[in-house]
Subunit: 290 residues, 2 copies
């Protein structure tokens, strides 16, 4: 069994990004964050992303709005960032309060700055395989993990468990593209005999959001397993009172799989690295346009 070490691979990606950023000087890639409210997970995600941006030499700015912000005020700020040529990427940390339409807010971001890949146009480009489409950072990170682990995808049967808009669907879209050439099955809560379907997979992408949902009996011996789940489970032995658990029963699945990504330390660090990559791509493209 081989461990797909997301921390290590993300470091590799970030080192390459840092070198590319240095070559761009005096231009500095700039990602602008928007956070609404003080949700602790959102605060921690954005802080981590800002820290990583600084590490690779990028600029990261942030604007925090109160929970009560109106959509109009949010739009006004997004419009200003869209118009600001020193800003290359814009990320609005999800989830947003219920009175705001996430679809409308994400779609307000100019397509060429949609480094989070949540805009409708970005997803359409991904389906159409238009060069330069921004893939959402988590599914992009999944693909990068596979590629950098030298896992062959062409002709392989990938089974994606979960059809969410931010992971399952874009992961399936990427895996079926000519860049990956997988045969792809996408499953969800309505799928019958899920075990039998997952057991056919050469590559399993677990993105259900249920701790240890994927068990060893569901895995074909030698399959590759990528765990996208990040579930907070109460754990009195931890300082903060909870543990992060993946969607995969790592202990037992790792005895059957040929390669597996852990949680934490798998897809998570890749998500942050892919955000940096998308921002750098956006900056290089803006620069090429002159």
């Amino acid at each position: 069994m081989r461990l797909i070490d997301g921390n290590l691979i993300a470091q590799e990606v970030l080192a390459e990004i840092k070198a590319r950023v240095a070559r761009l000087a005096p231009i500095i890639p700039h990602v602008a964050f928007i956070r609404v409210g003080e949700d602790p997970a959102s605060v921690s995600y954005v802080t981590k992303k800002q820290k990583t941006a600084a590490e690779v030499g990028m600029q990261a700015s942030i604007k925090v709005f109160p929970e009560t912000v109106t959509q109009a005020d949010l739009f006004k700020h997004i419009d200003a960032l869209n118009a600001d040529s020193s800003v290359h990427g814009i990320l609005i940390q999800a989830p947003l309060p219920k009175h705001l339409s996430e679809t409308d807010v994400f779609n307000r971001v100019a397509s060429q700055k949609d480094v989070d890949g949540f805009g409708t146009l970005s997803i359409g480009k991904l389906v159409q395989e238009i060069p330069g489409a921004f893939a959402a950072c988590t599914p992009a990170g999944v693909i990068e993990l596979l590629k950098r682990s030298n896992i062959e995808t062409t002709g392989k049967h990938a089974v994606v468990v979960g059809r969410s808009l931010i992971v399952g669907k874009p992961a399936a879209i990427l895996l079926i593209s000519k860049a990956c050439n997988c045969t792809v099955t996408i499953t969800h809560s309505q799928t019958k005999d899920l075990s039998a379907i997952v057991r056919q997979a050469d590559i399993v992408i677990a993105a259900i959001g249920k701790p240890k949902f994927i068990t060893a009996d569901m895995i074909k011996p030698g399959a590759v397993v990528i765990d996208v789940g990040i579930n907070r489970v109460a754990d009195a032995t931890k300082k903060n009172g909870y543990a992060l658990i993946g969607d995969v029963d790592f202990e037992n699945v790792s005895k059957v799989s040929s390669a597996i990504s852990p949680v934490p330390g798998g897809v998570g660090p890749m998500t942050v690295a892919m955000l940096m990559k998308n921002t750098l791509d956006a900056c290089e493209r803006a620069n090429a346009r002159g």
Copy 2:
């Protein structure tokens, strides 16, 4: 074995559309066609669509450009149609000559008039399941055939053979949506052991473009088979010298399947009907906006 009669179902859809069109008077839904060059198949498709529009009481206009038209001239015409509030749908007949970018031309059509569903934004909306997204007419016709034949889709395993942008991919996107709730496998030329995969399907969508590619041994007894292929095969017994053959070996597959759509007379008439439905939807929505 039940025949899924596309002609009959399309007539049913068109009768409903005709009634809805009549209720809109004095507003008349208007679809504007653009054809480039004189490709006989394109001429015949557009003529058929114009005829059907007239039958349901819609207006159909057409502008024909020579094979040598520049993209700028085409854009000028599309822009005028976009700005013309009496036009509700715009269809540019594919394929276009090689000097034109189909992606750019299709994307020039205003999203709310993209009744052919080929625009990047339309495909993105389909993935995001945004209400009112225009699905490309052929995959939309496939779903409508299933629905109107009372074929249960929830929890069923649909296998889509072919990953083209105009059929395979959007069909898979529709089948995985909450409106259909299928488990979906999408296969293509790189898929290994295709027969074994197709044999698992409760619903087979054949969209490969190879005559009689899907044979009886690939079909699980009782499966539903929708044949999207339209292949021209030389046939001396026909007046025009060719026969239209589907991707499915109808004669033998129909002995195994529980229901099957023929070629011709299956998906073909539904494609035209769905274009009328999309145009009518576009007109009703434009009208609701006032």
